[in-house]
Amino acid sequence: MFQNVVLLCLAIMSISVVLTVMRLIKGPDLPDRVLALDTLYINAIALIMLMGLYLRSDLFFEAALLIAVMGFVGTVAVAKHLLRGDIIE
């Protein structure tokens, strides 16, 4: 039963990812895309954690944590690029 709930959650997250990717592709502007990318990172965290629950394995914690860190850095970099062009100045 529990597995089925996790599967359901995975399905929900999949829809969520699809919506995000649709926004990513549609744009229309760069900030929209970056925002969608940021959201995609968050969705990825959710997916990873659900996968960990599904497999009953806690080996995915670091991956989730890292996605959080890296997603943030990536978003900051793009945003900075949009603002200033140069991200390390």
Binding site: M1, F2, V5, V6, L8, C9, I12, M13, I15, S16, V17, L19, T20, M22, R23, D29, L30, P31, D32, V34, L35, A36, D38, T39, I42, N43, I45, A46, M49, L50, G52, L53, R56, D58, F61, A64, L65, A68, V69, F72, T75, V76, A79, K80, L82, L83
Partner: protein
């Protein structure tokens, strides 16, 4: 180790809530008419979405193994710290790019 039934139910509820909030965020992202409004969807809903998931996961793994598993909370803490900053930077970028906003928006963004 067997997980108690009630805990499984609780975890299931939590992750379901989390997933649904994440979905709401994405729906917002897709549905809302301008960038500044879309900004609200993910930065909020997904924080709680992931937050609920994290709590669920914490409970689940604490029951799975000896001791408690709290380290997932770091993910949430981290997201709480970073999400506003991302949003802030994105908003700045959007203002810099003078993105169109829905006509009914009140107030003016600043010129960057």
């Amino acid at each position: 180790m067997d997980t108690p039934q009630w805990l499984e139910w609780l975890v299931a509820a939590l992750i379901l809530v989390g997933s649904l909030f994440a979905l709401v965020g994405s729906i917002g992202l897709w549905k809302l008419p301008d960038f500044f409004m879309r900004l609200h969807g993910p930065t909020k809903a997904t924080t709680l979405g992931v937050g609920a998931l994290v709590i669920g996961s914490m409970l689940f793994f604490s029951a799975q193994r000896e001791g408690i598993s709290l380290h997932e909370v770091l993910i949430t803490i981290f997201l709480f710290m970073t999400a506003p900053v991302s949003a802030n930077l994105l908003a700045k970028a959007a203002m810099h790019q003078r993105l169109k906003r829905t006509e009914r928006t009140r107030g003016e963004p600043w010129k960057q």
